[in-house]
Amino acid sequence: MTASRLATGGSAIDRSRPIRFSFDGATVHGYAGDTIASALLAGDVAVVGRSFKYHRPRGIWSAGVEEPNALVDVGGSVPTTPNTRATTEPARDGLVARSVNAAPSALADRNAFLDRFARFIPAAFYYKTFMWPDWHRFEPRIRAMAGLGKVDAGWTSAGTADQINHHCDVLVVGAGPAGLAAVRLASGAGLSVMLVDDQPKPGGSLGHRAGEIDGKPAAAWIAETVAELAAAGQLILPSTTAFGIYDHNLVGLNQRHCDGRPDTLWRVRPRQIVLATGAIERPLPFANNDLPGIMSADAALAYLRRHAVLVGRRIVLATNNDSAYEVATALAEVGADVTLVDIRRDGTPPTPANVGLVKGRALTSATGKLRVDGVTLDDGTRLGTDCVLISGGWTPTIHLFGQAKGKLAWSEARAAFLPGDPVDGIAVAGAAAGAVSLSEVFAGAGNAVTSSGQKKAAIPHSTGLEATGGITAAWPMPGSKGRIWIDYQNDVTVKDVELAARENFVSVEHLKRYTTLGMATDQGKTSNLPGLALMAGITGRTVPEVGTTTYRPPFTPVPLASFAGARVGELMAPVRRLPLETIHRANGAVFQEYGGWLRPAHYGGNADAERSIADEARRARQSVALFDGSTLGKIEVIGPQAAAFVDFLYYNTMSTLKPGRCRYGFMLSENGVVFDDGVLVRLDEQRFVVSCSSSHVAAVHARLEEWRQDRFGRGAVYIHNATSDMATLTVSGPNARKLLETLDLGLSLDDSDLPHMAVGHGTYAGDEVRVARVSFTGDRSYEISIRADRAEPLWAQLRRAGQAFDVVVIGLEALMILRAEKGFIVIGKDTDGTTLPHDLGVDGPRAKRQSEFVGRRSLFTEEAARDNRMQLVGLAVPQGEAPLATGAHGIKRIDGGLRSQGFVTSSYQSPTLGRPVALGLIERGAARHGETIEIQHLGKIRTATIAPPCAFDPAGDRLHA
């Protein structure tokens, strides 16, 4: 036994609540308040994982979010989560933890042999090696070996993640001494404050570093501060990480709950942000510095004072700065044999009691197999040990400041990047700003808050032991002997950085990508600075000349479920629903989504859908059909300039339309392309209704508004989207009028009063109805629009009365057949992003219109006049053949090769004609009716004859029949 739990102490643990969990199948004992890492250490588990590339054995390095080695998949009594950090994951009774990158266990990993081939697989090995003959031949095996934790394919969410928006005057990130001081000052100044910290309890470094504040022990000062904040009603969130600062100082928080609930996402808009995020201890460079049993010195102190875990018996503590001295003192006090090796010869603090101090020496290598067992100093001295602690200096946690585009400034004295020029609304305090002593921390915290212009409250006074900031930088050096790790998780060594420099990947961003330095799940929290300092040394530049990579959120991983929130399942992309949906369902409708609307595809249930659709299309031509067309756009354009407005918006002249009449037309985009088609109804001189395509309502409405506001002005026209106000029930077929005559709609259905392309007004059961003679089937049709909430009785009566006429209710699929028989187009299906109106055979307005309209100039370009444009045609197949495939290409043979000359846009079997009908866009198609061309689909070639688009009732007699 080397690491062990002490009989007393441990501020974080509750010895009255023992817990038991498993790690790689073995039972681990701990107490409530333990992390997985502290319990593993208490149980003397040295190897907790394997490195990503070489499968080197790895132990716990840290006690926090920066952990590069101790990643575990957790499950059992907690929701299954891969790749959690054992150093921050609470130990829970019944939890099941598995090491990652190792099989069957971290201790006995079968891929450990890879480390013996390490010299053959340096940085960029994959880029150079697996290019020939084809990366994809190697990919499956490499992927199987790589990767960290295992995703649980059977995982289901315990519920949707909450998302909370919050506003406050001051958001303080970090509840260490700087954060607590800042929040106390802000609260005292009457500001609303939010304090967040990633630990379960506030205190930060005060949880394990000594300190006396305002004459009290740190713990008492923390308790007093928290009580004061609670009394003031301030919001304190423990176990909550500020993971990102976004534009305009939006802060994202990830709040963890220890009760199985999904994490909560907070979006906070503070007036001011105080970053009191502390600092992260760095490793030191020496050969085999990645062996299990080599740990951050500050982490060892945290485990000792928070969890009563002594991490070793014969400890070598290597350092280049003053902060390690408190660690050495504390470990010696509990009986450990401590040798402190300080790289500095002069200016060191007093030698701690019962600690052996070696000055002016550094470690050059460590030995051991599955755990460190000795170290060698640079004078050749060998020391036996069971635990090596490292304090290589402090890297301020300025990720959030960097994300907010804050510039960093290099401090030679602190051997670290510190926050540079201030960023609006953001202050940095405490160790994150480079402060070391408590008095320095408190002074900075005072400035952070008073900079908001509020009155200054009392700054806490540190009365205890003062830390000092002395440090001598000890960066990795080029040409060092042995394998010296810089990035533990991604297995990047000094030699890899040297290789990158030799191959001229000297920019910090290239260095990162070439070696993967800092690209692991820990995002280089312990490795980035040593790595770029080494690059500086190799290339003869200073550290600031090399610079840092870009800081990007998230600081620590955030579950995707947090970002999704309630937008899962049907709520991810909500569909629009018909007012009569339940009626249709009761009548056996099968629903599908069409352009954002959930609509009946056909009736008659799911069985034999094709026959149902064909029956509906056939019967619609025989007598009368009912169709729910409620999705059709109904956008009203009202006002003194309404006629001029629709003239400008439409390709066709619309101002000549008489009140009570309708006209079909196109809307173009400014590039001339047909954007939408539909019928415009003129209700009176100053009032039109734009019946646009169902799926284009929102886009057409937006475009009407844009032109209204940009060109016509507020007083000229008013636009009202009434699409969902009204249901539109369509009655179509030879007996449509006879069916309508059985209803008393209070208007004349006589063709002289209500001819084709006219609109009439009546009432049904006391409600106004609008009846439009508009046809998308080619048969006599009436579109009846009525208040959406009163549509049901009208629909029911149409069906009842229709029984006498063998009425058929049709879905959208049958309607698609009917309109294709007639050669009626669907924009976006029978047209694409290049189709101009004259490609569809509508050339009149282009030739004749004198007034301005959207897209006009684009119709008179070289491109628009090209003589081989693709034009709308019908396509007929030889007798007895099946329908063409939609999307199949018309081809022509040029110099022995095949070239597309257009494609099939719509294709159906017509039950009425007893043969397929198809529409297509074919080069010069309008002039080639009667010509037979080849059609290719999936390698098979058929023939089709170009025909006029309309295959059924070309004279249009049925409109009036």
Binding site: K405, Q641, E670, N671, E706, Q709, R711, R857, S858
Partner: protein, 88 residues
């Protein structure tokens, strides 16, 4: 997430807005407009580094407005309703 000031609704999340193009990209009318001028109107954008005058629309209230902002710092400098200055 940027905050944009709608002249009608006040400060709102950028996800509520759509970009509407450069402000001052005046449409040239007529079938005789020189083709280069028309192409400029359709496709040529200034894409300035620094202060930009742009048209935005607040999808919630449907109002288009002019917003000045800095494309580097993302600072919003001003926003104003269209006011019908292009009204016919």
């Amino acid at each position: 997430m940027q905050l944009f000031p709608c002249p009608f609704c006040g400060s709102r999340d950028e996800t509520e807005f759509h970009y509407g193009g450069d402000a001052g990209n005046i449409r040239p009318d007529g079938a005789e407009v020189p083709i280069d001028r028309w192409a400029d109107y359709l496709y040529l954008r200034t894409n300035p580094k620094g202060t930009a005058r742009e048209i935005w629309v607040h999808m919630n209230c449907g109002e288009f407005f002019v917003m000045e902002r800095d494309t580097v710092t993302h600072k919003v400098l001003s926003s104003a309703a269209l006011g019908g200055e292009h009204a016919a």
